[in-house]
Amino acid sequence: MAALTVGIILSFVYFEYLRHHMRKQNMIMDAYIQKNHHSWYQYLLNRIPFDENLLWQNVSERKAIEALLLSYSRNVKDPIVRTQISKFADTYLTADYEKSLKNRRWSVRINTLHRIANFRMTTLNGEIQSMMNRPRSTEEGFNLLQIYLYVLPNEFFDQLLRYQDQLSEYQFKQLFLDISVQVKQTIIAGFNQLNKVGQYAFIDIQGKKQTFEDHYSLMALLDSDDSEIRIRALKAMSAGTIISDKERILSFIDSDIWQERLMVAKIFAKRPTHETEDVYRALIKDPVWWVRNEAARVLSLNHNGREVLRDIMANSDDKFAVDVSRAFLLKTKGGIA
């Protein structure tokens, strides 16, 4: 019973201490931000020389500064602000972060890596390079690669190749979403060195912010023997508006793989109906529901397309094509599609 009493008292003390600590920390952080946010604004946006009185007196104030800088780095894309944040972090936070990177607790190391990446710090490059030689966890390896992407872009691709087998498609995508033009060119040139997962992820991301260079690199992939690569390349193209070789893409309308036919329907969605009517009349009779549905959806997007759908509904002897035409005409009538 005595053990229980002691245990309960200790748990009261534990929770009360944590609550008190958290409340006090929040109070100090709020007070610091209230008092100094204007001075920080002046330093970050107007490049007023840094006033050392803004430096922290205790850990809570340092956390307040980090919160402030994180907020700016997440919400402001201005290069001046980014430079000012990096300058401050490099000058005043390096020593603390160097220590934190060696902390035994995984969460402390991860939080520190997030900050180094967010603040684009360069003074810890040596530590980052030595950590990358032997990351202590997959999450750390991934976060280190993110730092390479921002502050050591020339070494990023080599490190990525070295570490790629540890990464999931999702992590590849997270990395590729943030790449600069220069890094993107390196990856396009070394595309075949990526493993399959990396290749798939890169193709998907190329579709998001598509340039002519991306488009031509995607077109080249249409000759791949891997059907997944062809489908993803077509899908990535469907996210953009560039169609450089109409005939090459149209050749997939006769593909045995329904996903390739579906992508044809998606790619021509942004072209005027009079150019693509025949394509969609063929696709709406496709044996696969997804392809028919996509063809009808695309046709329902504009007036001329809806006329085609009405015509199919009235005259087609394909019951599935009639059904899907009716479905999309009803939706557009209700103001949805």
Partner: protein, 470 residues
């Protein structure tokens, strides 16, 4: 007789030791699993995920049968989720109240015609509606067929590769879907189902999907359930999940790989515990296909659900849960101690059978044993008192451990007043809540033996009276 009593006493002691050791192992395992998250700042991860398309699109399926009191709050909370690609499918399973009318009016829904690919059989779909304000919101009106049938209809309509099932009276935390989907996509398809942590929501203020959790619940019945939820989700499920031993992920909030769920035959409409049944079927499929897929539970995606506030409703709920457990375990009896099913057959199923399912019978047996032994003069009252104290201590330590794990995952710390109330309720639990639970579960066993599979009606209060009374 004396000898028989001694033998029974030894068996009961062994059983108790196994239970105590199992729970202790779970507490320790959960602690080591969650310890790494102490102090981890999740803001960066959430922000990184919010705007990106690296996460897979998800169809959220909300089965609703007479959920008029809470359905609007629930849908508003889903519309407020931080997630890039999501569609919401509310399945009105033949409600007799105004659930559907409320939805149609609130979200400006119009009837649409869409060919639905029937991958899993379900009762007839009468009509399909789509919102003009939120085109990613659908309502299916169908003939009543039960929750499982409604979920199957939702799966058939869903357009995305993953679906999330949530109860009509549940509210999801804004980041819940991101947090549950991150490990799913990060696993490169290895995780095929994931369950989130559920918490009680009774005295929570909900406003258009935004909400405040109370520090402590004023009603003892709700408070004890809130403790139960924390203990179950942050200890039991986290520990079992670590070794891919999880047989239950809550139907109130779980995500599934659609193809695997379809291949497993979807939700079983002839079973009470359809959520557990699907998980067991998935485990069976994983082993049959000799695959290394996993089913996991995640500590922090938070879903709030209304806990019963009266004993009669709680009784029905617990009866139903236990009947569901028994039905599923009985159906998959051939997996028990079957080496073909690996750790599921050799560890998980025996645990669920002997600790969870048979627990109430053995507890009852223990009480009868004590009474009989008392009359035979075999019981030392000091030993009984000592045992009672031991279980009090154990239950209190277990609860405090769960609260600590909770503070680790949520970065919130319970007040002294709240902790005091929880400890007091833990002390009394053994004398009122535990016996009631044992009795209800015994009722469930009796009903299962009798073949009674009636669900019982659950009455809901609703989260936001102003929104829901519209």
């Amino acid at each position: 007789m004396q000898q028989t009593l001694s033998v029974i006493g030894i068996i009961l002691s062994i059983y108790m030791s196994i239970v105590v050791v199992s729970y202790a192992w779970m507490l320790v395992t959960a602690f080591f699993s969650l310890r790494r998250f102490i102090g981890l700042e999740k803001e960066d991860m959430n922000r990184r995920n919010q705007g990106m398309d690296a996460l897979k699109p998800v169809s959220i399926i909300v089965p609703a049968y007479n959920e008029s009191s809470g359905v609007l709050s629930s849908v508003h909370s889903l519309l407020n989720l931080n997630y890039a690609m999501v569609e919401i499918i509310v399945v009105n399973d033949g409600s007799t109240d105004d659930t559907q009318e409320k939805l149609i009016e609130e979200f400006d829904m119009i009837p649409i015609f869409e060919a639905i690919r029937i991958q899993i059989p379900s009762n007839e779909i009468k009509q399909l509606f789509q919102s003009r304000i939120h085109p990613n919101l659908y309502v299916i009106e169908k003939v009543n067929g039960g929750k499982a049938d409604a979920l199957n209809a939702g799966i058939n309509l869903s357009h995305y590769p993953y679906f999330c099932s949530i109860d009509g009276d549940s509210i999801l935390h804004r980041d819940a879907l991101i947090r549950v989907m991150e490990p799913v996509v990060a696993s490169n398809g290895k995780v095929i189902a994931a369950g989130g942590t559920i918490r009680t929501a009774n005295e929570m203020r909900v406003d258009l999907g935004d909400f405040d959790e109370p520090e402590s619940y004023s009603q003892p019945l709700v408070l004890i359930q809130s403790i139960e939820y924390v203990r179950s989700f942050l200890i039991g499920r986290i520990a079992l999940s670590k070794f891919n031993l999880l047989l239950i992920i809550s139907g109130a909030f779980s995500v599934f790989d659609k193809q695997w769920a379809v291949d497993a035959g979807g939700y079983s409409t002839d079973m009470i515990g359809e959520d557990m049944e699907l998980v067991v079927k998935l485990h069976r499929l994983i082993k049959d296909r000799k695959s290394d897929k996993r089913i996991i539970s995640i500590p922090d995606p938070i879903c709030y659900t209304e806990a019963p506030q009266s004993l009669s409703i709680l009784r029905r709920q617990r009866r139903r849960w236990h009947q569901g457990l028994l039905a599923s375990l009985t159906k998959h009896m051939n997996m028990l101690f079957n080496p073909k099913y690996g750790t599921i057959g050799m560890i998980s199923l025996p645990y669920y059978w002997f600790v969870e399912a048979a627990g109430p019978v053995i507890e009852l047996f223990g009480v009868i044993y004590l009474i009989v032994s008392f009359f035979y003069g075999n019981v030392y009252l000091e030993v009984v008192a000592l045992l009672a104290v031991f279980f009090l201590i154990y239950s209190t330590i277990y609860t405090i451990g769960a609260l600590m794990l909770d503070s680790i995952t949520t970065h919130t710390y319970i007040s002294s007043r709240g902790l005091f109330r929880m400890i007091v309720i833990c002390f009394t639990e053994l004398f009122w809540y535990r016996p009631l639970n044992v009795f209800w579960r015994l009722e469930a066993i009796y009903r299962t033996i009798r073949g009674n599979t009636d669900w019982g009606v659950m009455e809901r209060i609703g989260f936001n009276k102003e929104v829901d009374k519209k």
